[in-house]
């Protein structure tokens, strides 16, 4: 459960807005500039794959766990991706222990759709026995430190963790599954995907909102885009509307900024 407190005082709100209307930001960034990004992979040995991502002071640990399970009845021949996020109370005084609240649900569902619809993981190749057994890959987003823009960090970390994920070879002999832990192979990955999030503050759109900027934004727009510039996910949030022009403008910026984010995934 979350107590959404407006912890940014009115005066801060005004000064941030005033700056942004003059195309300046408190931390000196440009309107379309990300904070410093760092990405480490393979940090948790017991995970199938893992990544620690930082965007500014926002920090997320992502771990994957591949396990064998049953497919969904309506998609019997493909593997399953499951994305879960925990807004740990460690990460912010506004996050409280307990079942996922609506912010956590939205975060994990948007990240899940972005990855799923990008078709980044070739789920067809994760089928073991059609209709009976498939690989299920759990993606757990563990939010450690919250300084705004969880969406982009979540997708970046999840994609890096998936690229880092190894699964054992399996054979099916006489309807029994033999798992060969000696022979590990990477998940079948196709093209990558990233997400770019914009905040509308005053009359401007800024990319990668910090905590303070998120607290005062009037609208938010997150756009998921693949390496080949397919828009695979989009989610508007916030209490105010956006014009069509603002939306298409954000799409344009996403096309160029996504290239920058993709670079972190190369390492």
């Amino acid at each position: 459960m979350v107590n959404k407190m407006n912890i940014v005082p009115e005066i801060t709100r005004k000064s941030i807005t005033h700056l942004i209307n003059n195309e300046e930001r408190v931390d000196g960034r440009a309107m379309d500039e990300y904070r410093e990004i760092s990405l480490e992979t393979g940090v948790i040995s017991k995970a199938g794959g893992s990544a620690r991502v930082k965007i500014g002071n926002t920090q997320i640990m992502v771990g994957t766990k591949p396990q064998i399970g049953e497919p969904f009845p309506d998609t019997p021949d493909v593997g399953v991706l499951m994305t879960n996020s925990e807004l740990l109370p460690m990460a912010s005084p506004s996050f409280e222990p307990g079942p996922p609240d609506e912010r956590s649900v939205e975060l994990s569902r948007v990240a899940d759709r972005c990855i799923r619809e990008s078709q980044m993981v070739d789920l067809d190749k994760l089928c073991i026995i059609p209709g009976k057994k498939v690989w299920m890959v759990f993606i757990d987003l563990h939010i450690l430190d919250y300084d705004g823009n969880l969406m982009d960090a979540a997708v970046l970390g999840a994609v890096a963790a998936l690229k880092n994920t190894m699964i054992p070879e399996v054979k099916v002999v006489d309807n029994e599954i033999i798992i060969d832990h000696e022979n590990m192979k990477p998940l079948p990955i196709r093209e990558e995907v990233v997400m770019c999030t914009f905040a509308k503050i005053g009359e401007q759109l800024v990319i990668d909102p910090s905590f303070d900027e998120e607290e005062i934004l009037s609208a938010r727009l997150s756009i998921g885009i693949t390496a080949s510039d397919k828009i695979c996910a989009m989610q508007k949030g916030g209490d105010s509307p956006l014009t069509k022009e603002e939306i298409m403008n954000a799409v344009k910026i996403t096309e160029s900024k996504s290239k920058e984010l993709m670079k972190y995934l190369e390492c």
Binding site: K230, I231, C232, G237, D239, P241, L242, K244
Partner: protein, 239 residues
Amino acid sequence: MITIITLGTNIGAKSREDGRAFDELRNLKIEAGVLERADGSAYLEFGGNKVLVAVYGPKESFIRRFQRPDRAYIRCRYNMAPFSVDDRKRPGPDRRSIEISKITAEALQPAVILEKYPRSVIEIFIEVLEAEGGTRCAGITAASVALADAGIPMKDMVVACAAGKVDGQVVLDLSEVEDKDGQADVPVAILPRSGEVTLLQSDGNLTTAEFEKALDLAIKGCNQISEVQKEALKKRYGE
């Protein structure tokens, strides 16, 4: 007390599984004021979708989380009846309904003059009695009528509609089958007077050009549905 309308013009493109043109809406009817106990209510049928909405409030909020010092708080609960889908849905909220409840509240909020009712809460209950693709848009469209029926002052009536990509073609208002087999779905809600967007999602693979086309088509659909909303209120309250 029922309004039926068929919209759109078939302009010769590839035909859809139910025979509609690419820019044609499913059959739609909206009825306002269908419940006794609620402060406002609306019933909507849209293709095979059947949605009922009740509104309570504005009333004093006793829960601190649902209180704002300077305005009313909109609390929305989107819920599917267990019998509304092919396989019985277990009662109670799931992750999908939690997300839809959140974005529905955000979609409706810009239209309501919340400043008039500080510290109070407006509750919107959306019940999907039967689902056939597009229930979140149906819920938003019906909720606006229910808000108006409750006498809540609004700047405009939010209206929602989806567009998407099916068989490689951008089409309006995907049915359940089209949503399942299609390549993308873009639900949109707008304030019809300003044309501003209050809900926007996109799920699937679209080029920028396709996305813009889908957005334009959805907005066009919204404007058509907006007329049916007005009709429904006229039917109930006269001109």
